[in-house]
Amino acid sequence: MSEQAMIPKLNSMFRFQYEKAQGCHVLLFPEGMVKLNDSASEIIKLIDGNSSVEQIVNLLAAQFPEAGDLTDDVAEFLITAVEKKWVYYGD
């Protein structure tokens, strides 16, 4: 399967939510918190366990037409996210 067709899923150990006091989205996990920047948040919002990487890129392109081709940005973020175990592929 090509990378673009893979379906990323959010690790259930992490909870994604907006934190008013922080002014940003965060990932919460046992006894910890990661603050996310805007682009990371926009990508994570679209990780629903059904959409492929390609679909996520297309949805982002529709939302942010001025941003240009986001394929590499999404791929780069997903590499980090998998390393940090926020995101995984498969069952």
Binding site: E19, K20, P30, E31, V34
Partner: protein, 381 residues
């Protein structure tokens, strides 16, 4: 592990990101490393459900995000589920920090339904013999083992916490294997800290440097073979063998807020021992406590710092170390943490390490109502 991830520069006072709710000091275990105060308060002074719910609401409104239910044994509070539910509805990430005694599959399910996010279970050793001797309770290991399995089976993230001391440090490899068998997500291998009750047992608990080096080597080798799979192991060396003090609580009044069973609000778990008057949530709001109370402001910033901290270029990194440790060891809470090799009191640490090679008094198992430290349970491990 969370401390760095929660860190913020303290240009201004940020919110108390971490709220530790110590629901009760009652505990079914008798661990000699217990860091709760030697003399515990009266059960009748414990906060009511309504008082706790108010604390949660106020702290969350300020931006608190992590909520730990601890004790003692928090499962002894029958209203735990009510508090979990309220905390979760407010948007907290809810953590239960438990001995596992008092858990059942049913209660794990009820807690999940109430919105509990994560369960941390303590272990005292890698087998029933060592575990139950340290815990001072028969069948504790068996119960913990079964409940850890049930916690994972019900889909929770699980942290295991092993408090490491002389009594179990030689079991390190078995501890790592047990953690894998139980499918823990994170494992804290935390050397005992010598606060509260544990301070009286320091000579018995503090491992030697050789034992620590060996244990850390075992953990590192094990980690290298994991290939990103299995639990994440966090090895915490005791600050007694460090050259610089720990950045205690990420700085006084910067990140952590502890509320004790009777409602005392503290900048750290142990601060009640200090000669400062701390506020109570029965009298003041969390906002007033965090932002306005004298005690929470007392060690913020660096104007309180003595030498050698004041001129030290690392003062922003470790904040002068732990105030409780300075007080316990030197009698003055304003002094540099004696752990620091620059501290004029550093010989006290060297002395403690030497004393730990030959304990002169017996090990004291934790009891909840000591008549006086000389008369309480003495057990040889």
């Amino acid at each position: 592990m969370a401390i760095n991830q929660l860190s913020e520069t303290q240009e201004k006072v940020g919110p108390p990101l971490w709220l530790l709710a110590e629901l009760t000091y009652d505990c079914p275990l008798h661990c000699p490393y217990c860091s709760n105060p030697s003399v515990l308060g009266d059960k009748k002074d414990e906060l009511s459900t309504e008082q706790w719910l108010k604390v949660l609401t106020e702290a969350r409104a300020m931006g608190a995000v992590q909520l730990g239910f601890s004790g003692g044994e928090p499962l002894l509070r029958k209203d735990l589920e009510t508090m979990v539910k309220h905390g979760r509805e407010l948007g907290f990430y809810t953590n239960l920090i438990t001995s596992g005694i008092g858990l059942s599959e049913k209660r794990i399910a009820t807690l999940k339904k109430s919105g509990l996010d994560h369960i941390q279970i303590s272990f005292q050793g890698a087998d029933p013999g060592v575990n139950d001797a340290i815990a001072g309770r028969g069948n504790a290991y068996e119960q913990k083992f079964k409940m850890a399995q049930a916690v994972k089976a019900q889909g929770y993230p699980m942290v295991l916490n092993f408090v490491i001391s002389k009594q179990n440090i030689t079991q390190m490899l078995d501890i790592l294997r047990l953690s894998c068998e139980l499918e823990a997500d994170y494992v804290e291998l935390a050397t005992a800290q010598y606060y509260g009750w544990a301070f009286h047992n320091r000579d018995h608990l503090l491992p030697s440097q050789e034992e620590l080096i060996e244990a850390e080597l075992i953990v590192n080798e094990f980690r290298d073979q994991q290939q990103g799979k299995g639990p994440q192991f966090i090895f915490v060396t005791p600050d007694y063998y460090e050259q610089r003090p720990k950045a205690c609580m990420n700085g006084w009044g910067s990140t952590f807020l502890t509320v004790t069973p009777d409602g005392s609000a503290l900048p750290c778990h142990s601060a009640k021992m200090l000669p400062l008057k701390f506020p109570n949530v029965k009298d003041k709001s969390i906002g007033d406590i965090w932002c306005k109370d004298f005690s929470f402001d007392y060690f913020r910033g660096d104007s309180w710092m003595p030498q050698p901290c004041q001129n030290c270029d690392e003062k922003e990194k470790d904040f002068g170390g732990c105030r409780c440790q300075a007080y316990m060891l030197t009698g003055d809470m304003h002094k540099t943490d004696p752990v620091c090799s620059k501290s004029p009191d550093h010989h006290l640490i060297e002395q403690a390490i030497a004393n730990a090679k030959k304990p002169s008094s017996p090990l004291l198992m934790r009891v909840n109502k000591p008549q006086g430290l000389t008369e309480i349970a003495r057990v040889k491990l």
